[in-house]
Symmetry: none
Subunit: 205 residues, 4 copies
């Protein structure tokens, strides 16, 4: 018996994350997670009180950090926020694995599945969305005062719309399984983000 509680717990979390991503929270069976993780029921029950707590821990300790490092932190780095958004987008598109394309965004999947039926989940997931929107809005506001973003846009509204459009885009790809469509939508997103740049004024007279 290998006694390594942290490793066991981490194994449980990452395996559960993938199972939830692939099959959804409710459809993912604990037995299935356990078999994949190579962990027994007793160990699971020692680390988490029940399936819900496992799920919430996955949100807090796997999903949220992943969203932060992928989407939020890049925006906090100095530089043109429009370029930053486009960069993150391109980065995600390039790294998109088959799993991402077939299973969509784990954050949005969980949010769509669990929001109507579990307030604890909804609260935490919405918290991540709030962080994300705030980060985009802050970047836009900064870019606006730096002259990299049009003055006519409202940072909050734009941030909310970008997040919505982004999740909608991933969902569309997942539902269509079509790479060409995916490229179209990404192109649409890019054009929208580009449109946030200030309109070039004629220099003189």
């Amino acid at each position: 018996m290998v006694k390594n509680p942290d490793q066991t717990r981490q194994m449980l979390l990452t395996t559960a994350f993938h199972e939830f991503h692939r099959h959804g929270y409710q459809a993912a069976g604990l037995d299935s997670i356990l078999k994949v993780a190579g962990v027994t029921k007793g160990a699971l029950y020692h680390h988490f009180a029940n399936k819900q707590e496992l799920g919430l821990a996955v949100v807090d300790e796997v999903l949220a950090p992943w969203i932060r490092s992928t989407w939020i932190e890049p925006l906090e780095r100095p530089g043109n926020p429009v370029d930053g958004l486009l960069g993150s987008l391109r980065c995600v598109v390039d790294k998109a694995t088959a799993e991402t394309m077939e299973c969509g965004c784990p954050l949005n999947n969980l949010a769509q599945e669990m929001s109507p039926i579990d307030e604890a989940f909804r609260g935490r997931l919405e918290g991540i969305f709030v962080e994300w929107r705030s980060a985009i809005a802050a970047a836009l506001r900064r870019g606006r005062s730096d002259g990299q973003v049009r003055r006519s846009i409202d940072p909050e509204i734009t941030a909310a719309f970008i997040v919505a459009a982004f999740e909608g885009a991933i969902g569309s790809v997942k539902a269509s399984r079509s790479l060409p469509l995916g490229r179209q939508i990404v192109r649409g997103l890019e054009e929208y983000i580009e449109s946030l740049r200030p309109t070039r004024r004629r220099k003189a007279s």
Copy 2:
């Protein structure tokens, strides 16, 4: 005991539609649907071979017609397509019930849940999306030749982006349960759609 078979079938379909909408396809129990519909299991299995066929019939006979009448047909009517899109959007926002706000879009819900695990579902749902996108693209193309839409946009790309943004918007509202956020996102959507109009040229020479 011999009741109207069509009525029974219809009852089953609409009840199943609502249960799927509220709890998701997998989480909705047949027994629960049956109890709400006031129909017995024998009747169900007389009309449908299994849960999947019931689900597919719901997609074909309830979901698709509803999407067509709400989203597609209004676009086919003559008139400015930008106004048409804005009108449909406003119409949906105004009619939005609490169920819509908490449970989201039935089409997208099903697509997100079932696409990765059931190809039959994915095919039909994607078919509805294709219809939808085509209708928007056609309207945009028409509007473009009529001078109501900017020439610089690509109808297919824009249509795909609009559908994605729209589904993302509904999903955001469902996840946040926040009316103010909902209004922000709708505002963002409206601004985007408005931006499709041609830039007003100086009236006179």
Copy 3:
């Protein structure tokens, strides 16, 4: 597949009654009951919503009728109630199987186990006790006016004491597993019941 709902239900009830009697309600496993009854989970779940409802149905449809026919109805027949009590007692002692000796009284067992933890059980079981005490009290009252029972006793108090002593007696036998002790306690009970007869007065002046 033999379809006989009443028989299946009855089989479930009587088997559950015996399993509850032998192992207690909580310790009796549904799987065990089903195996003994030769019934499947589906059938059980069709007839009863859960273990508790099965238990309550056992109380209502097996236990209560048995108590009534064994203890209550004999007392309602006309005749000397003291003789009636003694007769019932002797009858039960003579019919006492090994199961009765080892497992005690199913009514009292359930009452002792479930009263502190399930109000639905407690209510129904106490209802049976109330019926029983009332029947004894009524018989004593009748016997008192007929001159077969001492006038100095209080029917309610005596009835409550008899039931308590009786259940205590069965419990003692169950705990001791000693036939001689059983006979001693029964003798004690008989002496107490005999003492309810009126003191014989000198016939003549």
Copy 4:
């Protein structure tokens, strides 16, 4: 970390006693006992091999001493045994807490639950009952030769009956949760015990 072993052991015993009393031996979970006692599983399994040995130790070291000091020792004191029995009874009635009323007698509870399924428990519990009956019988025998108890009674039979009636009385109160009924039964018990006194003879001719 090195604590007082005796104190830990004692804590375990008294906590287990209360949990067994409240929920029964089988229904009481080790984890629950441990949490209440503030002791870990390692400590428990250091002091006791398994749940059964903990239970047997509770019987030997908590339950038996408590029964002895409450019921047996008062009887061994000189004086009228009828008064002694009535005094003990009244003392218990007066001290009866809500826990006693709802959970009954820990000795009888354990005996009723465990006798049919665990011979080790049955043996020890019956041993306590034997001690108890013997003490009552001895007191009655002593009272009989002292002229405080009727000569016509058999000490063994009467002792067995008293214990049975007493446990039955507590059980009735537990099942009914009715204070008035409790008072009735206690009154019945008192009348029975009073009836053990010798009948007052007319002193002279």
